[in-house]
């Protein structure tokens, strides 16, 4: 594009108009599909239209934003205004786990699920106060750039790349998994095929234009995802309570749930053992783990490379700070609505499913039952006959669905809410398009972070510093595809629960990055040896804790002094003596169903919060080892002074 610069000027000035038109166009499209539905167009066709139209729009934006300039490819030319960067960060941030999984988690865990809501919002305070603006002033393309400059070169860079790849890859696998669930449900594809179709969509957005393309598509994706998330509950809130502000009216739903919980107990449809009151704290997580998860998610936020690098794209340090505030505002819009989803669907399930006759099961459940996501009486709720037979097989079953008979996968709550509430199919399609936008946008950002680290940090900085621009960008694109395919292949094996995988990614980022980033900026005395010791020690112990508790729990108990985690009432989760005497106790690479897997640890800390064990070790090592050596050079201290002041040129000047 020869006229790129002049095009850019008018493009940036007209951002409001362009995205306003886009939003109007999207709403008109939804209305058009609603009319088509009334005219009798079948649901499957509507689902296809939704998915293909939105992916096509993202792909067009991606292609239009293609670039051959290095700074455009890595940091979108550093000219994304604060508000729009906030929107892009919102989409980058809110993943399949937030859009699809969050409400479901709150549905299942009640108050305890709010640990995730708090953890995934409060971290932005740390981003803005401690890390983000300083990295913007530094002028890096990637987080490892900073580590290398501050901590003596390529060894620190290499460690930072390892941390980045470990946490981002864990995270991206969860995203592609989410894409697969949505595509398989709405397009009726086989799950494994759907994973690769979703992948093609992701690549179209990011491959040609790097950060520049990802930024402008993420803004488009944010608009789709927020409209999709809020529409069903706004309709529901208006229908039920006459006020279109679900965040206000769900208080009533919570009061109704609490009343209904008492009723279920009285009618014998639930027992005190299986009913966990929605508003009561610390019934699912111990108090310690509740706060540990909050801390790990918050600190992890301020350590995740794909989020930090979004603030490299703003025009100034001041806008980087404003942009963090806008990011949290746009994220907040979804997160403070998620508990409303959970409350409305819990009320629906408690009033319209539990307590109904088994033969009266509502047919919307069968599509989810076929996918194994809803079970009644212990069997997939695929057909009415299957359910009736399954319940008959249970001795003494009253023929009415009891709380213990009903099991729902958390991923289904948001996707099925429109159907549960009897809204037209067009709303379901909209929600699917939103979930897809959330998963695609996060996967884009993550893949870009990984591919950039490999192409910029490993290839350009460590292997071939003389590589010409064209070659650098070609390598970046090839690596992007390779990483994407590897992640999709991993996702197709259905590794596990999305939320746990995402939690691990945060813990790893926290243990590996946070101490070195914060000390590097806030403590001039931090030395290369200290940082390297801190990264290796902190990250090492976190990953050890995670791997041992998840895959080698018997080894942990026998040799590392681990004990059983406890339930919130203080009872051990497993009987260690019995489990260790069993023949499978010392098995390696155990499956999730192994009696000890993820159930042992130190101090009763769940492995989702492994970062809590790694981070203090990292801080302590940096402090002690730094004080043992000589203080950093005068030049380095002068550079740190520069990072701390917004005025002036960036410290690192990249040649294009």
């Amino acid at each position: 594009m020869a006229t790129q610069t002049s095009n850019d000027g008018s493009f940036l000035q007209n951002l409001g108009k362009i995205y306003g038109l886009y939003t109007g166009g999207f709403l008109a499209f939804v209305v058009l599909l609603a009319i088509l539905e009334q005219m009798g167009v079948p649901n499957r066709v509507l689902g296809y239209l939704f998915v293909f139209f939105t992916i096509a729009v993202y792909a067009i934006i991606g292609v239009l934003s293609r670039t051959a300039q290095v700074s455009e490819y890595y940091v979108a030319g550093r000219k994304v205004p604060a508000l729009y960067n906030g929107m892009a960060t919102g989409a980058d941030w809110m993943s399949a786990a937030s859009f699809v999984g969050m409400a479901g988690t709150l549905f299942l865990l009640g108050y305890d699920g709010l640990a995730w809501v708090l953890g995934w919002t409060g971290g932005y305070v740390l981003v803005s106060v401690l890390v983000g603006p300083y990295l913007r002033k530094f002028g890096a393309y990637t987080v490892p750039d900073f580590m290398s400059f501050r901590f003596g070169g390529n060894f620190a860079r290499f460690l930072a790349v390892i941390v980045l790849v470990c946490c981002s890859f864990t995270y991206v696998t969860a995203q592609i998994f989410g894409t697969g669930i949505i595509a398989s449900r709405f397009l009726g594809m086989q799950f494994e095929v759907a994973v690769f179709v979703g992948l093609a969509g992701i690549l179209l957005c990011s491959m040609l234009g790097g950060m520049r393309a990802v930024t402008w598509t993420q803004i488009a994706q944010y608009i789709v995802l927020i409209v999709a998330y809020l529409t069903p509950i706004i309709i529901l809130s208006t229908k039920k309570y006459g006020i279109p502000i679900p965040e206000l009216t769900y208080g009533q739903a919570i009061a109704d749930i609490t009343a209904r919980e008492q009723q279920l107990l009285k009618d014998g449809l639930a027992t005190a053992a299986n009913l966990k009151p929605h508003i009561q704290p610390w019934l699912n997580y111990t108090q310690l783990n509740f706060f540990a998860i909050i801390l790990c998610m918050m600190v992890g936020t301020a350590s995740l490379p794909h989020i930090l690098m979004r603030y490299f794209t703003t025009p100034s340090v001041r806008e980087a700070r404003q942009s963090v505030a806008w990011s949290l505002f746009f994220i907040f819009l979804l997160y403070f609505s998620a508990p409303a989803y959970a409350a409305f669907s819990k009320l629906e399930v408690y009033t319209n499913i539990i307590g109904r006759s088994v033969t009266d099961i509502r047919p919307w459940m069968f599509t989810w039952g076929e996918l194994g996501l809803i079970q009644v009486c212990g069997k997939n709720a695929a057909t009415l006959d299957a359910i009736v037979a399954a319940c008959k097989a249970i001795a003494g079953h009253p023929g009415v669905v009891r709380l213990q008979d009903f099991a729902i996968n958390t991923d289904v709550i948001v996707l099925s809410t429109p159907e549960i509430a009897g809204l037209p199919y067009v709303v379901s399609g909209l929600v699917a398009a939103g979930g897809l936008a959330a998963a695609l946008s996060t996967a884009d950002g993550l893949l870009l972070a990984i591919a950039n680290a490999l192409s910029h940090d490993i290839y350009y900085k460590m292997i071939d510093p003389n590589a010409p621009t064209v070659k650098r960008l070609t390598v970046a694109r090839i690596l992007l595809v390779v990483v994407a395919v590897a992640a999709a292949a991993t996702a197709a094996t259905r590794p596990a629960d999305i939320l746990a995988m995402v939690g691990w990614a945060f813990s790893l980022a926290m243990a590996g990055n946070f101490p070195a980033l914060v000390m590097g900026i806030w403590w001039k005395r931090a030395t290369t040896a200290g940082a390297i010791a801190g990264i290796i020690g902190g990250f090492g112990i976190a990953i050890l804790y995670l791997v041992v508790t998840r895959y080698f729990p018997g080894f942990g108990v026998a040799y590392l002094g681990m004990s059983s985690l406890t339930t919130p009432t203080g009872a051990p989760l497993v009987d260690l003596a019995k489990a260790m005497a069993a023949p499978n106790a010392m098995d390696t690479f155990v499956g999730a169903a192994h009696p000890l897997a993820s159930k042992v640890g130190w101090f009763g800390i769940t492995n989702i919060a492994a970062g809590l064990i790694g981070m203090p070790v990292g801080f302590a090592l940096i402090y002690i080892v730094s004080l043992m050596g000589k203080e950093p050079s005068k030049e380095m201290q002068a550079f740190i002074d520069e990072i701390r002041k917004p005025r002036g040129r960036t410290v690192l000047q990249e040649k294009d």
Binding site: G122, Q252, D641, R647
Partner: protein, 90 residues
């Protein structure tokens, strides 16, 4: 954390002192809304407003609103400090 002051101008030092103070202030607010208040959730739940038990409300909405407001405020305050010491961008 002690900071070495060699080679840093007096103006920069004063700027950084004020910045550090603002940092601790905001970390304290963050700690209060992120953790302290939720220790009292069971007690706060006894107060019910519009159907919301207060302990639940703080974790679901109250603290989130505090974080958003805090961040806009922080951006403004830090910018003011930067201007005061003449180190803000033009």
């Amino acid at each position: 954390m002690s900071t070495t002051t060699k080679g840093t101008s007096a103006n920069d030092q004063a700027h950084w002192r004020k910045t550090t103070k603002l940092m601790w202030t905001h970390l304290a607010i963050w700690f209060f809304f992120g953790y302290v208040i939720h220790f009292f959730a069971p007690a706060l739940n006894k107060i019910v407003i519009l159907g919301f038990p207060l302990g639940f409300y703080m974790a679901a909405q109250g603290s989130l609103i505090a974080f958003v407001v805090q961040l806009f405020l922080f951006a403004k305050q830090q910018d003011k400090i930067d201007r005061e010491f003449g180190v803000a961008e033009d």
